[in-house]
Amino acid sequence: MAEQKNKSEEQLHKKIDSYLFKRLIAYFKPYSKYIALAVLLTITVSALAAVRPRLTPIAIDEKIANKDVPGLQTIMLILFATLILQGIIQYAMTYLTSWIGQNIIMDLRMKIFEHLQNLHLKFYDNNPAGRLITRVTSDVEVLFDVFSSGLVTAFGDIFTLLWILYFMFTLDWHLALVTLSILPLLIYATIIFRKKIRVSYSRIRLLISRINSYIQEHITGVSIVHLFAKEKRTINEFEEINSEHTKENKRSVFYYAIFFPIVELFLAVSSGLILWYGGGEVIQGAVSLGVLITFIQYSEMFFRPIRDLSEKYNVLQTAMASSERIFSLLDEKPAITDKPDAVRIDKIKGSIEFKNVWFAYNNDDYVLKDISFKINEGEKIAFVGATGSGKTTIINLISKFYQINKGKITVDGIDINDIRQKDLRKNISVVLQDVFLFSGNIEKNITLDNPKITLEDVNNAIDKTGLRPFINSLPDGIHHKVNERGTTFSTGQRQLISFARALAYNPKILILDEATSNIDTATEILIQEAIKKLIEGRTSIVIAHRLSTIQNCDKIIVMRKGEIKEMGSHQELLDKKGLYYKLYELQYKEDIIV
């Protein structure tokens, strides 16, 4: 039963492996010429390696036996020449394969990275960043190891074997057959070993992942372990998996411990056979001593690569696991793509309309229900409502980060599904609550390396947002270093930098998610001033957490549980004495408490 399961699993593995392998090969194609060259060099190197022992009988039987010292010198020179040639070619080949391998890896890495750039935000919501980083970095790296140390040397080994076979048979085919008579046994032993070790390895891999997930789970829940004083039990449970892992490893050690001496033994048996059979031939004068010695040398060269090949196989296994992960990422289809006939727009005017929009992040769990509103060019709109009422979702939809389920969103009267994402987003600047700064310097964080944004634009943006005094206080000005995520700056400073970024891009539509975090009053005033300048002359949408900042808006939209409850100007809504009025009152209370 279990045996059968193993078998079908193995078959499945084989199928997947060959499928993955085919896909991997596609990345080799651009370098096929270089690969051909590398293969050619490999063949030459292995030929040179095999030709040297071939010269031994000449040296022994013809030169040494005849006391021909000058002849021996010639042989020696030839041997030297082949050695040096072999060294040079081998160097070239090794370097070339590295070059090919690195190129393929770079291509694959770029492909994964580019693919990631095109994936929709929902994908990022569902996949932890750490996992994605691993795909771009170490998973790709594993493939290189396989290519350079696995595949290429395996090729070399196979060619060496072929050359040795050729020389052995041309030298003395009787003796060649005797030498190789042990080969079927060796192959049989290798196959058995491979089977055993494969089962063992897949169990080990499973146990390692169990160790990992156990550690991960119990680190995440370490407080529970502590609070319930269950350290001992946790350690015991872990030890169970740990010792099972050790047990399985010992099993594989046992297989290796058997297999290695067996290969050595076969080698010895083969030499013994050469000595026995060849010795008889020598006595009868059918074989020379030199040939006998050459055969002993060849048998040594012959059996080691076969042993090594079985190890290469395991390296290949780990590579398959990595490439499986990589390809499953590459198979992830971007959920939001541009239509082939999408309109190209350079500058949009800036009117936005939602027509009966329904949206759910998951299945039927609607976070927006039948939302309709219109924002005219240059208008200022504010969204208010409790957390979870759907405000942030609306701004995500305008930038087309998610695909709506029902209804229509238009910009300048054009359905956003018909506009290229790039053109759409180019015209919209979003300032999020949680400001993300890149490592580099301040200038880079404002331009985001967009060559179209000039130094003048940057300075302009800095002046307008009131960032100037802060920049001047820094020794390097706009070239001041920003570390990862800008942690050396205060929240307010980061906020201002992100304002400058938005302004430098001079968008037609500005979306501002007001920060809720506590900022000191002085910076708060700066920020309020900056916001005023920011929204000047463009369509702007503000998600307000402080009602005091939005009283001058053209329109205020009050949301609750994914629906629009009220819409109108500040005064209109106050007069209505509805939800907005209550929120306003609540805000007033909150201000007292804080």
Partner: protein, 583 residues
């Protein structure tokens, strides 16, 4: 390198097995090294004319010596490599036991990823050093020693000739090793640039997409990728050198042996058999040369791994039982009266006090409600009681005994905490609920589930209490998780029950139900309820309002309302919010 000395205690444990392994190495190499000698003798015998039976004798002895050598090689691996697996097991066990006992603060400083890398990759690197590393070192040294001695014994002149490239090999190994080292450091640096860029891009993907900067990001990543490519090739330039060079130099040895050996034979100072022996020995020496570089590599990888591991292992768990601990205090005897006396607390890394001068007494069997804004120190207060953190100043007493005197296990066994984040293990619901005990009392599981209003939910699952939760099972809703977490605390049957904002994900109706049930369960016991909602705590015997690290207000619900302070404001605000929700 020094860090590897820390392995000594682990190695000592298996010294007998290791010693045996070393002896087997000597035996296995001694036997297998006889093989070239026998072959050489056989060849010489052929020249001088022999019988078939002698040839068969030589063949059989050659095979027999390898067979014996191989048998010992099997024993070598079964001892040394197996021991390395045992040591790996011990290391991982000790490491895990160590981190499980580390305080919360440790996990704030060390990421889960880095801990997992230590437990698997680093320990594996150390294992490779202990096992294959040590085995090949001894094998290499002994084999080299033996082979060289035999070669000198047969013909000192030819031995010198054969070994003449050795100084060059050593020199080149050294040179190439150094260049490889410095260049691979650069590759590593470049790789970390690559990783940081990928990380930054992925964490900042929202900004990238908002500003349509995908192309720019790709270009930048391409640049870093290229740099990494160049650094790798510069490394390859040196690395590609090492193998051909090695083969070249060993090849030179062979050629020299054939030439000078040939001349010696011509001058009758050497037999052809001797030369064959030399040739085979030289072939055997190639492997140790390669192994040598490999051993260095293994050691270089293991040393920093061991250092990283030791950096963690040498940390002492700050919170543990010590001399002050009175082990006579048992969980059964704890009544549950809690007192905070002038308690202040700062986080180890922080400068600001999180709690200042807290004075508080909770009598046995009463309920304390705690309310306050995020960051006011509510959770910290209860973390101090369970000694997740130790107080900086003052004293916390249970039944009049300072908690530092109570054995840590006893203390934590008498307190049932339902934390803010309801973490459940990915196992069945019943195992989660009965987590506190080592046995599973099904009736008690049901009882606990009923008390936390979870029973009906669980009964709606096809597998009832055997339902597995988490990634491999079903995903519970936030409210279900919270209620499971409450059931888990009830099952523990603690003297002190703490709910840390544990009703936030259930509706007001269920909240009331649970609170009523808890009243029954917690009769004669102490409860502490932290909440944002007035409704959860309004029936508590005593309520404290935390604000700005201190207790601002204290009293019953009615007292606090008539006080007209913060509590009153929160109350008013929540009434209004309720109204907004219902409008």
């Amino acid at each position: 390198m020094k860090s590897l000395l820390n392995l000594l205690p682990y190695v000592k444990k298996y010294r007998k097995k290791l010693l045996l392994g070393f002896i087997f190495i000597i035996l296995s190499i001694s036997f297998s090294s006889m093989f070239p000698l026998i072959v050489g003798n056989g060849i010489d015998a052929l020249r001088t004319g022999v019988t078939y039976s002698k040839i068969i004798f030589y063949s059989l002895t050659a095979i027999a010596s390898t067979l014996t050598g191989g048998f010992f090689l099997f024993l070598v691996r079964q001892n040394i490599i197996v021991v390395s697996r045992e040591i790996e097991n011990d290391l991982r066990h000790d490491f895990f036991s160590h981190i499980v006992n580390m305080p919360k603060d440790f996990f704030n400083k060390n990421s889960t990823g880095s801990i997992m890398a230590l437990a698997t990759n680093d320990i594996n690197a150390i294992r490779e050093f202990v096992g294959p590393g040590i085995m090949y070192t001894i094998q290499t040294f002994y084999r080299t020693l033996l082979t060289v001695s035999i070669m000198f014994y047969i013909n000192p002149f030819l031995a010198l000739v054969a070994l003449s490239p050795l100084p060059f090999i050593s020199f080149i190994v050294y040179k190439v090793g150094r260049m490889t080292h410095s260049r691979s450091l650069k590759v590593k640096e470049s790789f970390s640039d690559l990783t940081s860029k990928a990380q930054e891009n992925i964490s900042g993907i929202r900004v990238v997409k908002s500003y349509a900067r995908e192309a720019g990001e790709i270009a930048e990543f391409q640049n870093i990728s290229r740099d990494y490519f160049r650094k790798n090739l510069s490394l390859a330039k040196v690395q590609s050198f090492s193998f051909p060079m090695m083969y070249l130099l060993t090849g030179v040895s062979l050629v020299l042996v054939i030439y000078f050996g040939g001349i010696e034979i011509i001058n009758n100072r050497l037999t052809l058999g001797n030369m064959s022996t030399f040739l085979i020995y030289l072939g055997l020496l190639t492997w140790p040369m390669i192994a040598f570089g490999w051993i260095i590599n293994l050691t270089q990888r293991a040393a920093p791994s061991m250092e990283r591991l030791m950096n963690i292992m040498k940390l002492k768990p700050e919170i543990s039982d010590n001399k002050q601990t009175d082990f006579n205090i048992a969980a059964e005897n704890i009544e549950g009266e809690v007192e905070f006396k002038n308690v202040s607390f700062k986080y180890p890394a922080g400068h600001a006090s999180v709690l200042k001068n807290i004075n508080l007494k909770i009598s046995k069997g009463t309920t304390l409600g705690i309310i306050g804004h995020t960051g006011s120190g509510k959770t910290t207060l209860i973390n101090l009681l369970s000694r997740i953190y130790d107080i900086s100043e003052g004293e916390i007493l249970i039944d009049g005994i300072p908690i530092k005197k109570i054995p840590l296990n006893t203390l934590r066994e008498s307190i049932g905490v339902v934390p803010q984040e309801s973490f459940l293990f990915s196992t069945t619901i019943e195992k989660n609920i009965s987590y506190s005990k080592d046995y599973l009392d099904y009736d008690k599981v049901i009882e606990s589930a009923k008390s936390s209003s979870l029973y009906k939910d669980v009964c709606s699952f096809p597998e009832k209490f055997q339902t597995v939760v988490g990634e491999r099972g079903i995903t519970l809703s936030g409210g279900q998780k919270q209620r499971t977490s409450i059931a888990r605390a009830i099952y523990k049957n603690p003297k002190i029950l703490i709910l840390d904002d544990s009703l936030s994900a259930v509706d007001t109706h269920t909240e009331e139900e649970i609170l009523n049930e808890l009243k029954q369960v917690m009769r004669n016991r102490t409860s502490i309820i932290i909440s944002h909602r007035i409704s959860s705590i309004k029936n508590a015997n005593n309520i404290i309002v935390l604000s700005g690290s201190v207790i601002k207000e204290q009293g019953t619900h009615n007292e606090l309302i008539s006080l007209g302070g913060i509590y009153y404001d929160i109350y008013q605000k929540q009434l209004l919010e309720e109204e907004i929700q219902e409008s």
